[in-house]
Amino acid sequence: MDTIQFATFTVDGVLFGVEVGGVQEVLRYQEMTRVPLAPSIVSGLINLRGQIVTALDLRLRLGLRPRPPGALPMNVILRGDDGAVSLLVDDIGDVLTVSPELAEPLPETLQHLGRELIKGVFKLNGRLLLILDASSAINFQTGRRLTSDEARRAAAPPASNLQ
């Protein structure tokens, strides 16, 4: 029987998991450089061995209340299409192995969480494990307008129409 492995972490008391394949590494709190003018979900930039990684606050991403002041978040570094991205979480849990059959639909009661980011739910020993859709979590529209460049590119004629 096939099983799936999830790297788990908690955010505001809720246990989340992402498939281990999408996780590059897990790090304790890293110093961050804030980015002015950025969407509020972007907490800052961290230096991951010479690579600059954007850190996104998963609490804000999921629409949860902000982390209490003084609490230092941990980093779950995900492999994105455009380089690594860090998700800031409250605590890191174990890697859990579950069988896909145990998946259940998302309870209707989970309204306050960003439902579109949850792929499914597993019931584990009385605790719920919410499976986070990693790629949706790190790909989001910030609601900003297209930059003039993007607009131009969208309007530009396809470059290959001459061949």
Binding site: N47, L162, Q163
Partner: protein
């Protein structure tokens, strides 16, 4: 470079490329034999043969072309599935590969494609094409099918596309150690090793029987190169970037450590790092010809479609640029070329009517100048129609008729870079949609370049792009705002101003609440960095005026100067530019990020984006219009010259044109070493002679001291530097110069004349004369005679 050399270069590239293609052909053919229905393999083989045919036809190798042509015809029938692949055809094609290889080595050795007779092979290929069986003598049993060496076609293609050419030293040992670093990209998978014979027999099946030693006897051109995966180079570049950062950090310790050994070791580390940096940078350099290669084809297709005849000429295709920049300018270049073909060059009939050659000329030129690369795209077409541009600008509502009429020709030319501007009468397939020139400009500016154009009616148009050599490591000024540090690329930096105490009150002012600074008689708009970044604690104009000290970084964005107020101005450093993630790419104020010596991340400010966000530079239209309105009022001040002022030992001021000054440096007097009659310091991996201005001017020689800081004005002389030791650097001024003759006897000592600068009579130094007489002996031994004759 003579045309002959150029031709050699072309042939060499053709050979390298063709050898690689042939290696792939072997693999593809064999893969095809395993899987005869693979349309992809046939298409790939067809393309390879087609390329070889095309290139050798162009180079005039008729014999080779004939063979390739016959093979191509056969392949085209295979591709169209009019013919099924069988062993005979495979054999014939493999034989063709061998024959072509033979001819290539003959070309390499003698520049001729050999005089062997390939008519039999050609006949066989033709016969196979018509579906006939090979009954001719060449139809021998197929070569032993090298079954175990079937190459998976997918990985074979990847490295070929991604690899960059890395020239290795042409020593025979060189490739071996280098190869151990490189991933084994071009592995010889198919068939026994090729044997390059000067003249190869038309058909030889017993390749395996050839002595293997033969390959050594005639090394092919590819031996001097190692193909390296770009990923490896990028990683190397990253590591060097890290090393530069670590070096910067160590250098910060030097002043605090009293250990000669440590200082010396650090010096060495410093030099080696610099050298390594430039070495690695070189591996990423690619000739601009790589981008240009595609352009003749673009021009050809376009001109055919438009019914024009156009010849493409290229100069300086060997000019090297960083790979990332090459990629970034690919599209703008293509666009400019298309634009020239579409708008610039006239139709044949129009050209003849204008008394020009029927064939239009499009020239691409590239050259290095002052650490930058210049790329020119020029045509000998009709030039820009300024009246039409004016009319269009008015019609589009970009300018009023009055403004348009007052614009100078140059400014009219610049209008075509505005968004939404196109004068094409009809929207063609090619251009005329009004998206284009502004994108070209934005893209070039994004990589720190500038683009402008000159146009002469009836004679043609020239676009000129100036771009930096590399983007990976740039000098930058680090500033602080609260706890945050930001890096400002040095290229947009004009000067630093620090106001204290009473100066703050006198220099700062506000116009309608917008802070300005009075700087040498002109008003400089001020932008608070905190405000521009939307951070808390931005000072209002009133708060500024009551501040103890104000630090201002004077920046240049889109021809507009402005002052950025920061909390603290730190050091200038070489920083490694790293891109921002996609979540942050849309913020115009940042150009990227870098990692500082302490391992923390700092954002790099995009000066143009910042200025636009702060409305110092409006949207492009507005600023253009404003500038043009101000044109007449500003005209008399235009010929102002920027001068660096410093004082002599006796307190008199003296000036040099800022354009002659590469940098201002402060050296520790202890690092000065004697060399022959000179004093020198190590500077940027070179030995830089130092000259004392006062000794030269006969005003004493008091600037040498055994310790403490030496203020040095660095002047670049070709690739070398000379340093002028001065007592004190006073200021940088912009003055409208009225040069008076120098006092008698002063010319010889290098005085150009004198002028009134800041109400004081100031002598202007003629660095050229001064360096010829003095440093000339050190710098330019060969120029001695010439310098003497001029005296």
């Amino acid at each position: 470079m003579s045309s002959n050399d150029e031709n050699d270069e072309v042939i060499k590239e053709f050979l390298i490329e063709s050898y690689e293609n042939l290696d792939r052909l072997d693999r593809d053919l064999i893969a095809l034999e395993q899987n005869p229905s693979s349309a992809e393999s046939i298409a790939s083989i067809f393309r390879t043969i087609h390329t070889i045919k095309g290139t050798c036809g162009f180079l005039g190798y008729a014999r080779l072309e004939g063979v390739a042509h016959a093979a191509e015809s056969l392949l085209s029938r295979l591709r169209d599935e009019e013919l099924a692949l069988n062993a005979e055809i495979t054999t014939a094609l493999l034989t063709t590969v061998d024959v072509i290889r033979g001819m290539l080595s003959s070309i390499e050795a003698t520049k001729q494609d050999g005089d062997a007779d390939h008519s039999e092979l050609v006949a066989l290929l033709l016969r196979l094409q018509t579906g006939g069986s090979a009954t001719a003598p060449v139809a021998e049993p197929p070569p032993p099918a090298p079954a175990p060496v079937v190459a998976p076609p997918a990985p074979a293609k990847e490295p070929v596309k991604k690899a960059a050419k890395v020239p290795a030293k042409p020593k025979s040992e060189a490739p071996a150690p280098a190869a151990s670093v490189a991933p084994p990209a071009p592995v010889e998978v198919a068939a026994p090793a090729p044997i390059p014979h000067p003249v190869s027999p038309p058909v030889h099946h017993d390749r395996a029987a050839e002595p293997a030693g033969d390959t050594k006897a005639a090394p092919t051109v590819t031996d001097g190169y190692v193909r390296v995966d770009v990923g490896v180079l990028d990683k190397l570049m990253n590591l060097v970037g890290e090393l530069v950062l670590a070096r910067n950090q160590i250098l910060q310790f030097v002043p605090g450590v009293d250990d000669a050994n440590f200082t010396a070791t650090t010096q060495r580390l410093n030099l080696i790092t610099t050298e390594l940096q430039s070495g690695v940078m070189k591996t990423r350099m690619q000739p601009i010809g790589n981008v240009w290669e595609k352009l003749p084809r673009v021009v050809r297709d376009l001109s055919l479609a438009l019914g024009k005849r156009i010849r493409v000429e290229m100069e300086g295709r060997e000019t090297e640029l960083d790979k990332t920049i090459i990629e970034a300018i690919k599209d703008p270049l293509t666009h400019l070329v298309r634009n020239c073909v579409d708008h610039g060059l006239e139709r044949e009939a129009d050209r003849l009517a204008a008394g020009k050659d029927a064939e239009g000329r499009l020239t691409l030129r590239a050259f290095h100048e002052g650490g930058q690369v210049n790329i020119e795209i020029s045509d000998d077409g009709a030039g820009l129609n300024l009246e039409r541009i004016r009319a269009k600008a008015v019609e589009r509502g970009l300018l009023s008729a009055d403004q348009a009429a007052r614009l100078g020709d140059r400014e009219v030319c610049e209008l075509i870079f505005l968004p939404g501007f196109s004068t094409a009468e009809k929207v063609s397939n090619v251009s005329g949609r009004g998206v284009g020139m502004d994108v070209v400009k934005t893209n070039v500016e994004r990589i720190g370049g500038v683009v402008d154009l000159t146009s002469r009616p009836g004679l043609g148009t020239t676009f000129r792009i100036k771009i930096p050599l590399t983007l990976a490591i740039i000098p930058a000024l680090i500033v602080s705002s609260g706890q945050d540090r930001y890096a400002i690329p040095q290229i947009s930096l004009l000067e630093l101003v620090r106001l204290t105490g009473a100066q703050v009150r006198t220099a700062l002012d506000s116009i309608h609440g917008a802070p300005v600074c009075r700087l040498r008689g002109s008003l400089l708009p001020l932008v608070d960095l905190r405000g521009a970044l939307g951070l808390e604690g931005a000072a209002s104009a009133a708060e500024l005026a009551s501040a103890e000290t104000v630090s201002i970084v004077v920046l240049q964005a889109d021809n507009q100067r402005f002052g950025l107020i920061v909390d603290r101005i730190n050091d200038s450093e070489e920083i490694v530019v790293k891109p921002l993630g996609k979540h942050l790419k849309g913020i115009p104020a940042f150009a990227g990020a870098t990692i500082m010596g302490d391992g923390r991340v700092a954002l790099i400010l995009d000066v143009l984006g910042l200025a636009q966000a702060a409305h110092v530079v409006g949207s492009q239209e507005r600023s253009k219009a404003r500038r043009s309105q101000g044109t007449e009022a500003e005209a008399p001040q235009r010929r102002k010259q920027s001068l660096l002022l410093f004082s002599l030992a006796d307190g008199r001021p003296i000036a040099v044109p800022l354009s002659m000054v590469s940098r201002l440096e402060i050296f520790d007097a202890r690092t000065v070493e004697p060399l022959a009659d000179y004093r020198v310091v190590q500077y940027r991996g070179e030995v830089m002679p130092l000259l004392d201005v006062d000794t030269l001017m006969g005003t004493g020689g008091g600037n040498w001291q055994s310790e403490g800081p030496l203020h040095v004005v660095v002047h670049g002389y070709g690739k070398r530097y000379v340093g002028l030791v001065v007592k004190r650097i006073v200021d940088v001024v912009e003055e409208h110069l009225e040069l008076k003759k120098p006092a008698q006897g002063r010319t010889a000592s290098g005085v150009l004349g004198c002028a009134v600068i800041q109400k004081r009579v100031t002598e202007l130094l003629d660095l050229d004369v001064m360096l010829r007489t003095e440093a000339g002996r050190f710098l330019l031994p060969s120029d001695d005679g010439a310098a003497g004759m001029e005296q």
